[in-house]
Structure formats: C-alpha cells, structure tokens
Symmetry: C2
Subunit: 244 residues, 2 copies
C-alpha cells in the first residue's frame, strides 16, 4: 500500500507538495483519474482520485476519509536532547515514528554538546517513516527548546524523566503500569552528559517522576527508543499489525 | 569507565589487538604500569595493569576478574535477515548489543534482497557497542546462513517467528510471558519481502511459535529491535543500570 502526504486539505481537495508530486507523477507515472491514497498527517487516510497530475503540484479529489488510520491510540511526547551525531537522533525520530509517537521535542540541556538543532530534516524523516509504516498521523517535530523553557510548560498527564537520581527510582515498566488509560505521557531524555542537577531538580518540582530504563547502559537515542517501546508494548503491543 | 577488548587471554596475560593497542597508547597515552579495565568478550571484566605498552600490541597483566559484568542474564539469539541497506542492519546490531543479546545470526531468506553479508563490520560494531554500554559479553555475530539451513539446527529453548501467518498469532509479550526463566529464546525475523511460505511452514514444523510484534508496521530492523526490547523489559527492565 502506497501513501502520499497531502500537506494541505481543504474540503474535498488535497494538495501534494513538489516532492510528493514529482514522486507521484514522474517516478510512479500516475495520471489524472488514477486512484491513490494519501494521509493528511493528522490521523486521517484520504482515498483520492488525481484531479490534476501537474508534477510540481498534484491536486487530489478526496473520495473517502478513514479517520484514525494507523494512529497508536496513546498520547506520547518524547522530549529528548539531540545527540552530538545527528544521524543518531534522526534514527530515533524514524524508529519512534514507526512504533508510534505524537510529538518529538528536541531539547537543549545545559550539558548538551549540541546546542543548535535544525528540525526540518527530522520532519522529513518523520513524514517518510509515517508513510512507510502506514500511519496517517505524522508526529510533530518541534523547534528545539531549552530544558528549562520546556519545563515551564504545564505538564499534561504523566511526566517521566530518565536520570541517574540518587536514591529511589522506579523502572519505566512499573511507572507505566500505574498510568491510567488515555493519560498523555511525556518522557524527558537527557544528553550524552545527562541533565544537570538543576534541570533534574526542576523536573521533579514540575511533577516529573524519576525512572530508570533497566540494567543496560543505553545511549541517548537508545534510551529514547526504549522509552517509546515500553509505551508501545503497554498499549498496542498486543494488537495485530494491519496486513494491507 | 573505559574498557578495552582483550582478544586473547591466557592465564594472567591479556593481549589487545593493533586497533585497541593504538587507541590505548597513542590516543589515550597509557603507559606501562597504568591500571586499565578490559573485557574478554565472554562476560568477564579484567582489571589489569599494562605490562607492555607497545602501540601495536599491548600486553596486560590481569590483576582481578569480575565475572558476569554487564551480562544480561537471559539467553537470546536474534536470527534476522540483513536489510538491503547495510546501515540499518548494523544499527540493529549496535542497539541489540546495547540492550543485551547473546548471538546474532544473519539469515538469507528466499525473498532476501541481500543474499551476501559480510559479518566483520557488524562484529566490530558489536565490540564497540559492548564496550560503550559496559558489557563484558560481546554478542557473537555468525557468518550468514540460509533460513532453511538455520532451521536444520535443533531448536534450544523457545523459538518465536514474526510472520504474517493466516489465523492465530500471539503477541510477543504474551508469548514471552509463557517462557520459563533461564530458557534460551530465539527470534526469527524475516527480510523486507518477509519469509517465504515454505520457510515459515518449516519454522513451525521445527517448533517455532508464530508471533506478531504489535499494531505498527515495522521495518525489518525495527522488528528485530522490538523483539530484543520485549525480552529486555521482561528480564532486566526492572533492574537498575550500573552507574559507574
């Protein structure tokens, strides 16, 4: 099953951007009248007919809408410090999208080696990963924000921070076991140098719960994926994958 | 904590290969008499003193042995078809090693796009991932073998195959819930084109149990990692990570 991303949907008209249009018309040789499937990136599958096969701007006529297509059914924000090596973070964006995540927030911590992050490339990766794994919901990749700014936002639902706190920490699986259904979950994952004690203390003040991710020492991007997989297995790991 | 891989250990003498020796002496400027930590790759941490700081062949005197250092404590074989894109499979090798796996078997399926696979690079990745995640056990990366040859081996413990079987499949988490402690686990993960019906039927004949990996459609390497994380969370996800 092949999906196109319609960046704009107005009523029964959906538009593909230049990349998607070129792929649709030049590479796959679709023509006006062909039926194709698109996603709106917000969770709805659009069954369409090509109205205009302009290779720089394909227009689609929406014939049918399938809401909640491939949507995980949990609400998960992954707030994670991008790695020094961009590929590692972009890999995390791809894999988290495949498993299922709503929002990815690149964080800049006091100990981050990477202080600037360009989110555009990660957004393109999220789009192609969503299409590839047959999800109509494309996770939002936000512009980078400092850990302290991010923590000024009111925490919706449950917040979990992976940090080497002194004393008691609960495992991510035990922490998730206590989370009521439908509750939004936010993970805070620090940089290679970890969060600063001030950042960690602020997170606790703001209601985040300290967790650990198990007995193995994991790289930043692996920790992020382990957190997403723990949520994935809790909520939809028992459901069948769609086969179409 | 910094670890070197000692490719050869005889009695109280451990040897580093040329790469590790150069890193130890030229890059990190260690000299004879310095105390360093090494792993034997089989699960034992070696606390050593440098006896010979030859940058092409460092010799270590073993002062103390710490068995089972960072060893997951479960026995897991990941038999997985390498992806068309080598980076994706090598990424899986790195991440599976970080989480914990004993053996990685590159499989060549009837529908594999990649019919040949050079295991050397994956072995080097496994070594550096084990060192980086403070594990004395380096997973064995075998030479590639066809799915049918692999299935001729007697299945030790529990075998699980991720395949789009008609009819009933159990989720990986439910399948793992039934596995008694200490039981070796083998996962079979197919290529982009999936196993052939003949390969899948043979796996069932040989005692493999059909599983699915949840509601999301996952790439081959993501499926492999999801399988490893499910085992990781079942066995050591509740244990603390070592902080040293």
């Amino acid at each position: 099953m092949e999906l196109f991303y319609a960046y704009q949907v107005q009523g029964s008209v959906a538009a593909l951007d230049a990349d998607e249009s070129g792929h649709c018309v030049r590479v796959l040789r679709h023509r006006a009248g062909d039926e194709v499937n698109a996603i709106d990136g917000k969770g709805t599958l659009l069954k369409c007919r090509i109205a205009d096969d302009n290779p720089r701007g394909v227009q689609l006529e929406v014939l049918e809408r399938v809401p909640g297509f491939g949507v995980p059914g949990y609400r998960l924000t992954l707030a994670c410090c991008p790695t020094k090596n961009n590929d590692r973070f972009e890999w995390l964006v791809e894999k988290a999208t495949e498993l299922g995540v709503d929002r990815i927030v690149p964080l800049v911590g006091e100990r981050s080696e990477r202080k600037v992050y360009k989110a555009d490339r990660a957004r393109r990766i999220a789009i192609s990963a969503a299409k590839q794994s047959l999800k109509a919901l494309i996770p939002e990749v936000e512009e980078p924000v400092s850990v302290k700014e991010f923590l000024q936002r009111p925490l919706e639902g449950v917040g979990l921070i992976a940090y080497c706190f002194e004393g008691e920490r609960v495992s991510v699986t035990d922490a998730l076991a206590d989370v009521p259904p439908e509750t939004p979950i936010t993970f805070l994952i620090g940089p290679e140098g970890d969060f600063s004690p001030q950042e960690a203390a602020l997170a606790l003040e703001r209601g985040y719960r300290p967790i650990h991710l198990g007995a193995s020492r994991l790289r930043t991007e692996t920790a992020g994926l382990a957190a997403v997989s723990a949520v994935y297995f809790k909520y939809i790991g028992k459901a069948y994958a769609s086969e179409d």
